[in-house]
């Protein structure tokens, strides 16, 4: 994998769907939808949107999971679960409490969807953490390590401190698969 570098596989930021801070959830989904439609003429399929600040720096990312979380979120449940986390309750118990809350009411109610649609992207975007940045000159090996260690779905690619692209797990996976096939490394029987 050494002859690949991050910049060979990244999606340039110019090709990515972006929204400014202050955009509502509904508008952000519209931007994503338009980007998906444009897939027919672009080689990149979009599953996420980047959030930019007033200087066009990337300050967050919104994937499909984040959108669902924003719709599903109930402030009372969220704060309760957040509290319980600090008080040594097990993941099983937390899941149990979540389930209890689910049973109390459906998510797909018109009123709840309407409230969620008005949320601002900064309320539910995923803010990048230090382990999510990778230099465009870094090797794919380095990027694979970062994706695995941080369980990230993508990394933000930098050049001189500026974000110039996104390295997606799907593209890295495809490159790994391609490499395996190329070297014919299937185990021998017997």
């Amino acid at each position: 994998m050494e002859h690949y570098s991050v910049k060979d596989l990244m999606v340039p930021i110019s090709e990515y769907a972006t929204v400014p801070m202050g955009t509502t959830l509904l508008d952000a989904i519209n931007v994503l939808e338009h980007a998906q439609e444009a897939y027919t003429i672009s080689k990149y399929q979009h599953r996420a949107i980047l959030v930019l600040d007033e200087n066009r720096n990337v300050v967050g990312k919104i994937g499909q999971l984040r959108v669902l979380k924003a719709i599903e979120t109930r402030p009372d449940l969220d704060s309760e679960l957040e509290e319980l986390k600090s008080f040594n309750f097990s993941p099983e118990y937390m899941a149990h409490i979540q389930e209890l809350h689910r049973l109390r009411g459906p998510i797909m109610r018109k009123e709840d969807l309407k409230n969620a649609a008005a949320k601002k992207v900064e309320e539910f975007m995923q803010k990048p953490t230090p382990g999510e940045f990778v230099s465009e000159d870094a090797s794919i090996d380095t990027a694979i390590h970062q994706l695995v260690a941080g369980t990230h779905l993508s990394l933000l690619v930098t050049r001189n401190g500026q974000i110039v692209g996104i390295l997606r797990i799907a593209d890295v996976f495809a490159a790994v698969y391609h490499e395996m096939k190329k070297h014919d490394i299937a185990p021998q029987n017997g």
Partner: protein, 473 residues
Amino acid sequence: MKELKKLYDRIVQQVNINLRELDFDVRPFVENLIDPEKMTKFYAFYGITPDHPLDLEFSHSGLAGSYFLGKCKVTNSLLYKSDIRGDELKREGSTFTFQNFSIPLTTDEVIDIRDSALIKTLVHNYSHDPETAERFFIRSTLAMQFANIHGSPMDGCFLGPFATVDLTTAHDSVIGRYSYIQAGEVHHLRIKPGTIWVNSPNNFNFYYRYKPEALQPYVHMEDGQPSGLLFDFIEEHQGAFQRVFNMVNLDVIDTIPASASLDRYAVILPKTTIAENVLVSQRAYLQNSALGKGANAQENCYIINSTLAGFDVTAHGAKLIEADLEENVFVGFNSFVRGTAESRVCIGQRCIIMPHTIIDIDEPLEIPPGHLVWGLIKNARDLQENSVSLTELTKIEKSFTRGRMHFEGNGAQFVKAFQDRIQHILEVNGAFYDEEHNNAGHAQKNQNLSLNTIQPFRFGEMEGLYPNMIIKL
């Protein structure tokens, strides 16, 4: 006076340094917490008894109105009307058992208070931390009114008013007002007001938090001052303590049985009756109540127009007004149980009222025997949501949720832990004393107690602080 101000500023800064990672600033709470004039006005006092070591060391500290018993060391600290009760400290030659460890004690355990300010705070019991079995330390800690530090070494903590830390070593943590924590050891935790948390890892975990708006009328902060119904209640009854603190010798009340103990700094108003083996601690307030055999009223308790059938525990700071307790009822720390003359609270035998429970009713309420009760109860419907029978709880093996209460773990272990502890409290308080079995507890031993007073500098740079002194046998 200058030195007192410097010392206070130093303590506040020290606590803030410890809490910087939580981004918590104690300054808004401390503006009027220490009144320099009162630090000069009140004497401190200590107990002398053949049953406990007399080993006190005070250095560069203010001690106004505070009480000391046993082996205590206070350095660079300000204590105001606090009780430092060393009568349950571990003794030289004994063995402290923790999990699979047996730790022999080579010296008497000491309560070691340093760089701290404690306001109307109770310090009691012994260190439950095996890492510091001979030293129950309280360092760089600020505790507000009616906090309880019970068997809990503290380092860099802030306790809001009516907060209790019980059998827990706490480091760099904030315990919000009216919160009760019993969790073994905590680090860098910021506990919101009104949190009740009892955690024994791998055994059980109990958690409840008051709705902020429900707790608000009882305890809240207003312009940096603690306020609310609980403070108003104490304020209303404050006057009665003036007499007991002003008099050097009070008349002995001759209707007290020989096996019962009534602290000379408790207030007893007519028509109160006290049966055998009853313990009434200092700063307790009894009025028109009956305490049956082996019942106890611990520090800062108020028992008014109430009856306790016997072997009932009213833990530190608990308040009972217009209540009737059957036998073996436990009312936890700082609980507030208030009925009215027309609507009394009746608590069945073997009930456990969790620490920091508020029962405040204007319709009669009957709590059936053998129930665990928690949280805020204003009527029978609240009781349904905030109680469970001990029989039902004992059957829980995984988890249980009711209202705002969360429980995970083994219910039988939780019930047993409480029941064992209640039994232990009754034993050490002398509730089961009889001459034949030589099983005297605090109720009997406290009768051998006399008190000495000590005074602060009243003028000059050191005004409000006490001379450095060592008081030993």
